[in-house]
Amino acid sequence: MVSTENIHSADSPHVGLFVTCLVDLYRPSVGFAAVKLLEQAGCRVTVPRAQTCCGQPAFNSGDDRHARQLALQVLDAFEEFDYVVGPSASCLGTIRCHYPEMFADDAALLPRIEALSAKSHELVSFLVDVLGVETVEAGFDHCVTYHDSCSALRELGIKSQPRKLLASVSGLELNELQGTDICCGFGGTFCVKYPEISGRMAADKVNAAEASGADTLLAGDLGCLLNLAGKMRREGKPTRVYHIAEVLANMADCKSIGEGDD
């Protein structure tokens, strides 16, 4: 396997970073932020090259054959690490919760898949729950609101962890979003198959963000973020949109999602 490593020390946990396809393609800065946060927390981080997509789009579209093939690709690329961590509850939720379902009838592979699932974590919850990180060294002089993604909230039980770390960011004030347990309307292929419904859901979320009084919206899943940033732009809202990892890693000095030069 071709891989690259930032060596810390031999006994620090060795994390395979699952970049996720959306971060890889759309927002590399989130990947770098994830590496920084993991290294700051004492991990040795490797980014396997043989990674692309976790298979969720195929799985959610009923294409179980491709979903399983992609899961096996992830298994091969990440099995060797102590942990698999990625900046998305949606993808890591697929690995943690749905991979075992995909191989439920495969007695030969199931134990390996289950072992992989058990050591796979969404980034922020990994920092807080597994590594015991309490604070980050970052500053962000803005009033933010936080959107809980559905996979974070309901598949992985992530709610307090991002808030805990955000509380340690200097200058940051958090205004909670009304209806934070309601989906933003992304839903993978749903958003292009049913644009009108999806658009209404996104509009309601964008309005709730505005009503919170925050100038910045954060979330931990790029799917939601692209949906919401795209809707903000379409509606002419000034709210800026970042991935939470960018703020926690003190790397939110780049352009926000969907922000132009002019």
Binding site: P28, G55, G187, K193
Partner: protein, 474 residues
Amino acid sequence: MQPNSRHFQANAESALREPNLQSALKQLESGFVAGRQRCYDALPEFEALRDRAKEVLDHTLDNLDAYLLEYEARVLESGGLVHWAGTPEEAREIVIRICRDAEAKNVIRGKSMIGEEIGINDALEASGFEVTETDLGEYILQLGKEPPSHIVAPAIHKTKDEISDLFLEHHRDLGFTKRQTERSALVNEARQVLREKFLAADVGMTGANFLIAETGSNVIVTNEGNGDLSSTLPRVQIVTAAIDKVVPTLEDASLLLRLLGRSATGQEITAYTTFTTGPRRERDADGPGEYHVVLIDNHRSEMLGSELRPMLRCIRCGACMNHCPVYGRVGGHAYGWVYPGPMGSVLTPLMVGLDEAGHLPNACTLNGRCETVCPVKIPLPNLLRSLRSRQHLQRQNSSLARIALSLWSWVALRPRLYQLLTRPAMTLLARLGASSGGFRNMPFASGWTRVRDLPAPQGSTFQARWQQQQRDRK
């Protein structure tokens, strides 16, 4: 009711532009959702009850044949009759035959979803019977000739104004010439009209929330008491119920009742909970002379033998639709048949066919809020996903989406090719979008850009940058 689910897309889009419907749907969160949450917070054993309910129902479904036979035996002992119907047609024929044999003219109905499922009203009317719905919501819909849009609150889409107009139009001839606008006055008017119907009825039809195997009883819950009147006043009672309504014991029914009202409307218990067993006995002051139960399968035994079996645990509380962000935007009629929302998106394809209802399993973001509130822990998102797998295997999903996704998977299974293709593509896209930061239109992504911009990517891919950085470090 003729299914209209294949037009989900168009139905949904017009629903989104319907201001009355939109304001009615806005009440769901502050009403039912908040109500359920209050009940949840007030009952420490709520989660334990959910687990227990799931266990009881799974056990029942594992032994469904035995419990149904036990139930039938108890009904017969109590002097009632049990009729078995495989299909909606058979069920309709049985009901009509009972009404004919009883030389009935007027039939009153307590609200039941199975009645909608088998289309009993139209069939009875076509056979010359006069049918009156006695649940206020259903009565309003009967006047307006509309199907229900919610399984618990069937007329939730109707505004008070529309109801005032309907009542004036239909009750004028009965002497109610004033257009009532107060809630209580409207209820009172309906009560007076319906009272006459109750007294004139020959046959009372109800559904069943539960059938109890150990006693042969059926249980109905209402908030208006119309179910009690429908089952006690007429000389003939007909209970129509699906085979998955049976539970082993009274104890099991009371467990489920504790969950039902709380999950449905945020009530600890509904206003009326009525147990009926058989026809009137000699020493009884009132009750029907004949007691019939029509047990209906309608594809449920197929579900029992498939991966969709958990759906048969459903106790029809409606919590899944109350909490569904799609239902909350488009309302129940968009789904095009009797059962809307998440539970309907599983049931409808099974009952009217996956080709007719192919949209429904897909019109869902799989956000999972329904599953977390379902009192009997039905894994609705997984069941919808199973239906998508069936569609995929039967090649029933749209070919464009199929090809696009297969192509994506094919490339994603070849990481080198993937990186080779994505790096220049993202670089180009980033360059094109750099100055504005996003795109208002994007060929091949019109579904996305119809309602929102497509944010521009940052530039080259993470993998490309990372590998470059690693090389630079060395």
